[in-house]
Symmetry: C2
Subunit: 296 residues, 2 copies
């Protein structure tokens, strides 16, 4: 049995940065901190932060005098104002690519563009983004939701974790009815790279294990892409692995979302190796064999 890890997987820049900010501030301040919503969409990371006194709250009303960390997905304009009014000490861990998306959306909306957002309608990143839009907008999850907006100027932006293929289809659809179309490709390159690596590995595997939070948008997208090519299971930790999945499977691929820490990936790899009867466990992510991608 061959077990290989996707070339690009696990923590992205924005996630690493957000966790580092939370940890650094917790050590420096030596007081309880809160994050507004889970800092990233990974329950295991959230639990670890609780051990150093960083707790997630879902409602701003719960925050009294505790310093509050804005998570990687950002928060709404209104929430930011409310924190200011309540004189809460704010630590901003919004992913810089998400901040860029918010400011581009705000600017284009002010300039009179009808904003089309490719994204998950309920996702916190999208909910925060639309709070910055002052004019008309439409959130779509795919090209089939595009209608003739009867607008002279349309701008298209995207949640950072969407797929480029869908983005491109939406451009094509919008071009049919739009005289002036302004496109900002706000899909994070880390997202695209992880998706490409996962696709290539899935094409060469007969079983794929995708590791990451069940609420994680980018991990769900990896699982969706993977299942087009191979049997795919989306798990959060090694505990969920089922021996039965591995019967008659000889090429196993592993990939992990941008919010999945290395040690969870190592655990999954070791458990799979164990199921296959091998004793060769690894202690670091660099010891896991990586799938060699063909140069395209």
């Amino acid at each position: 049995m061959e077990v290989r890890l996707a070339k690009n997987s696990g923590f992205c820049f924005g996630v690493k940065r957000a966790i580092k900010i939370a940890q650094d501030e917790a050590y420096r301040r030596k007081e309880k901190l809160v994050t507004i919503g889970p800092i990233i969409h990974n329950p295991q990371v959230v639990q670890r932060l609780e051990k150093i006194d960083v707790f997630s709250v879902n409602d701003l009303a719960e925050i009294k005098n505790t310093p509050a960390i804005i998570r990687s997905h950002g928060i709404s304009k209104e929430a930011k104002l409310e924190l200011k009014k309540k004189l809460i000490d704010v630590i901003d861990a919004t992913c810089p690519y998400v901040s860029k998306l918010q400011s581009m959306g705000e600017k284009l909306s002010k300039e009179g563009y009808y904003i089309v957002v490719l994204g998950n309608k309920e996702h916190p990143e999208v909910l925060a983004l639309i709070s910055y839009l002052s004019g008309k907008y439409l959130v779509v999850e795919g090209p089939e939701e595009i209608i003739d907006l009867k607008a002279k100027k349309v701008a298209l932006i995207s949640q950072t974790t969407q797929t480029y293929e869908v983005f491109e289809k939406i451009v094509k659809k919008l071009l049919d009815t739009t005289f002036e179309l302004h496109i900002v490709n706000t899909i994070c390159s880390a997202t695209t790279i992880r998706q490409d690596s996962t696709r290539l590995l899935a094409m060469d595997s007969n079983l794929m294990i995708i590791i990451g939070g069940k609420m994680s948008s980018n991990t769900k997208m990896l699982a969706k892409i993977s299942q087009e090519y191979a049997e795919t299971h989306h798990i959060e930790t090694a505990k969920e692995l089922d021996n039965a999945w591995f019967t008659n499977k000889n090429r196993i691929g592993i990939s992990a979302g941008a919010s999945t820490p290395d040690d969870l990936i190592i655990d999954v790899y070791n458990k799979i190796i164990n199921i296959s009867g091998s004793q060769l466990v690894v202690n670091s992510i660099s010891e896991i064999p990586v799938f060699k991608e063909e140069t395209r």
Copy 2:
């Protein structure tokens, strides 16, 4: 033998308007007028205007005190300034869609966009357009000429007579390397409609006759599209028709560019009918059978 005319063919709004301006001014002023370059790309129309004392000049130096008509394709910013300096009375017959293209190009260029123009590098419309661009630009005739511009902001515009299919391919190519892409679909809808009608007719014909000036960009494009589906001949007048073309051909299609006057179309139709042995000549364009397009 069946002879049918494309549903949408012949004079477009901008061409009709330019000729009307020239005729009206010639009658009103009762003096010699010049056009800067042929008013439209149709030699027969240019010859007719000469009979009412409207002559085409190619060089601004030739213009002394004669009022000058700016033709439908527009003229460069520099030429406009020179006319002003020489105190020439200017009559502007630039197609309003071309004027719009020029002003959009000028605006976007000032805003710092790297301008990509889809167009014929030597065409007067394109030469006039680029004179309004103050920053970097690239004129391309197809997607294969698109390179990574290494620009943060790129804007795409098009000569009004290009095909939408090529425009779309260029969008796709530019998206690969561009973070912020501003697209203005300046392809004239009259152009697109004529191309669609010609394509549908060519698909249902075994011989196509495309009528229009040999220098006419939009007519050449119709011929190019048509020859993908049927044997195609691009002619200026009925004189060029060759009896041999019609041997064993039973479904003949006729289409005409946006600068082709009705009477040239009527002449061609009557000559073809005559070749086929019929005596049923027509006297007006409305008598020519039009190809019924399928609703798509």
